[in-house]
Structure formats: structure tokens, C-alpha cells
């Protein structure tokens, strides 16, 4: 297990992905072990993708989208909000660690917020230790 937890982030291309860019160009510090996957909208993310990320070795998964009211497609993030509320509770129900998953709203202007979320999550994941329950190693 690497020292730093592996964090996979599904980032909306209209906001959070640009937010991550801003964090980079503003030279804000955040853990380098985050792997961002650009998606057209947080509403595009099937919870099966989240599970897949865990199985393939993620210690934590972040889905990041636009603030309510700001969705490029008007409402994708609001569908995502309902969906991932259920997912989070379901992970807990199965006895998995719901803290490993977060849905966050990060706008294109919130580079600082992006760095903060990544730092927070990484700290949480360090406390939790490596994902063992959902990781499937060949």
C-alpha cells in the first residue's frame, strides 16, 4: 500500500474540473494522489462507476459537480444529489465505509475549495487506512 491514499475524483467539466485547473494554476497545495476523471456532468456518474473505482484500487471516491442552480444542463447535479444520497446510505448499510465517498459542489472559481476538499478527504482516508473491503486485486 502506498503511503498516500488513492483518491479518484469524477469532476464535472463545466465546474469542478476547471476548479481543479484553477487550484493548479494558483499553485495551491493539495495531495498529488488524486486521479481526476472528467465527466460531462455529475449527473453522468453511474454509482457503478464509483464501485468500479473502489474495486480497482481507489481508497476514496469523490464526485464533484456544480452548485445547485448552476448546472450547465440545468438539473443534472440535482439528479446526482438524490442518487448519491441513496448511495452513501447504501454503502453504510452494507457495512462498507461511507466516509470513503463524497459528493461535493465545486465551481470553476473555487480552486481553493477544490484543494481543501482533496486535503480533507485525504486526511479522512489516511485515518481510515487502505480500502480493503471493496478492493479486488487480481
Amino acid at each position: 500500500m502506498t503511503a498516500q491514499p488513492r483518491l479518484v475524483g469524477f469532476a464535472c467539466r463545466w465546474c469542478s474540473y476547471a476548479g481543479a485547473d484553477l487550484a493548479g494554476t494558483s499553485r495551491l497545495e493539495y495531495p498529488a494522489s488524486v486521479h481526476l476523471i472528467r465527466v460531462p456532468c455529475s449527473g453522468r456518474v453511474d454509482p457503478a462507476f464509483v464501485i468500479r473505482a473502489f474495486q480497482r484500487g481507489a481508497d476514496g471516491v469523490l464526485v464533484a459537480g456544480c452548485h445547485p442552480g448552476d448546472c450547465h444542463y440545468a438539473s443534472g447535479n440535482l439528479f446526482a444529489r438524490r442518487r448519491f444520497a441513496l448511495v452513501k446510505r447504501f454503502l453504510e448499510y452494507l457495512g462498507l465505509e461511507p466516509e470513503r465517498f463524497r459528493l461535493e459542489w465545486i465551481s470553476a472559481a473555487e480552486g481553493r475549495r477544490f484543494a481543501e476538499v482533496i486535503r480533507e478527504m485525504t486526511a479522512d482516508l489516511e485515518r481510515l487506512g487502505p480500502n480493503r473491503k471493496l478492493r479486488e486485486d487480481p
Partner: protein, 316 residues
Amino acid sequence: MTDHQAALRDIAAKLLGGGQVATFIGFRAGLDPSRPVPHFVRDASGAGALVINPFCGAGLARHVLEALEDGPVGILVRGCDGLGLERLIADGRVTRERLHLVAVACRGAVDPARARAILGRIPERAEVDAQSVALIAGEERRSVPRDSCLLGRCLSCVDPSPRLADTWLGEPLPSGQRDFEAVTRMERQPAEARYAFWSRQFQRCIRCYACRNVCPACSCRSCSLDDPELQERATGLADQFGFHFTRAYHVAGRCVACGECQRACPMKVPLSLLNEKFLKDIRDLFGVADPHRPSATEPLACYRPDDLESCRGEAR
């Protein structure tokens, strides 16, 4: 229920004879009297093979998909079948006009394996009422509690009668409200106990896909669970968690709680306990009173601007 057998045969014969339907879906006797099988009657003269009794356990809704290829379908419908058909109609897979629903109220179906274990031999008949079940073989008649021999899904059933009907056999029974008691009990367990419980259940899974194939909400022509990118064939514990997560989530908001998945599971994985968790949370988080009954707007295909922001981050 058995009293309606003659009327059912009559109605099926008339529908088929009059050309209103091309197929009538019901049950006929199996090799063993306690295991009737789904049956597809194609002409009026075959209607005499139809049976209806408390051993009729299989859900029939899913079978309309293929039968409709031959023309309009008549079908025997209990509460659970009705919800399944509502699901297929809401999903746009079936048009209401091509179905003739022969409705009957159901007090519960007997699990043939449990009944045989109680009786020590194959039961020939059964009578189910609101309080108990009578199992009958030869001269022997034994009255036992409902929870000792009914299918699990029937014990928590709150929809004995279908909401859609074209013809009624007898009278409908009143419907109730799900209490999600089993889910609540599970939620109260410590996390490690829940993990241990589900690990034990999922480890048994043989990935036969009966749960999916029997499900009226799983009628997609192309399924995520067949996509090797989303669901590998491997059967390690994490793969099994992933499989059951994805199956349950992909019917969340559309599951009608008919319990067919759990009935069909040859490894007795308590799949309803997964589906019901989603139903309960949909009720609690989104204020949907009866989330298992299909409605014009699916709970996950809509939103409210004032959906609790707190349901985003916290697990509870």
C-alpha cells in the same frame, strides 16, 4: 383462491376464443402438485389446463415481454404481478391496451420446500387465510402459522390485490403500507456486523443472474451487469459486493417490491433486504409515501430544488 379456478378457465377460454388475446398467461400443474409452473395458453381448448391455488408462487409479469411478440396477452394478476406490470408499462416496455388483466386477490403463496419440510411429504393442497395456513396431503391436514411456510415476500406483502384490472375474480382485499421493519433491524446492527452479514450472503452468490432475469424492473435490452467494463466475471468478495450493489441500485426507484428476485435466488441471498433499503430511504429522504408503487414521476428521475442538502454529505 382455488374457488376461482373454474371462472379463470372460462374467462381465458373466452378471451382466446374471441381473439381478444393471442396468449393467456397463468399456471398449470407441475410434476409435483406443490409446484405449479407458469403456463402459456394459445387456444381456447387449452384453458382447461389452468390452475390457481396457493402454491402458485412464480411472478408472471415478466413473461408478458416475450408473449406480447405473438399478439395481445391475457394474464392472471395478483398484487405483485400487477405492480410488475405497472413497472413494465411505466418503463415503456409494454402498452396497457395490449393486456387483459384478470385480477385476483392473493393472501400469500406457499413455499413448497418449507411446506414439504413441515409435512414430511409433498403437500397436495393448501388453504391460506389471514391467520394461518392449512397444508393437506391425503387424510392429513395440518394448520400452521403463516410465517412458517409462506414465501418470504408474501409475509411482508401489502398489496394483495392489483391496482390494474380488466376482469375481477372475486373481491379485492385492502392494501397496506410497508413498514420496512427488517431494514430497520439491519440498520441498527453495528457496521462490522452488517459487513459480516452481507459478506456471508454475497459469498454464496453463484452469479446465475436469476435475480435480474426474473425482475420486472430489469428489462433493459442491454444490461450493465453484462458489461465486462462495469462487472467483471470474477467472484471475489469485492466483486460480489459490486454486483449486488449495482443490481440493487439499478432498480432503486423502480423496484416494486414484488420479491421475485429473492424467490428466484437458488442461494437464498436476501435480495429484498437490499431493495427495501432503497425504498425506505426514498420514502424518508424524498417523502415518497409508497415508493414501491409506480407513479408518473420516478423518485430518481425527478428532484426538488429543496431536496435536503444534508442528504448529500452525511451517511446517517
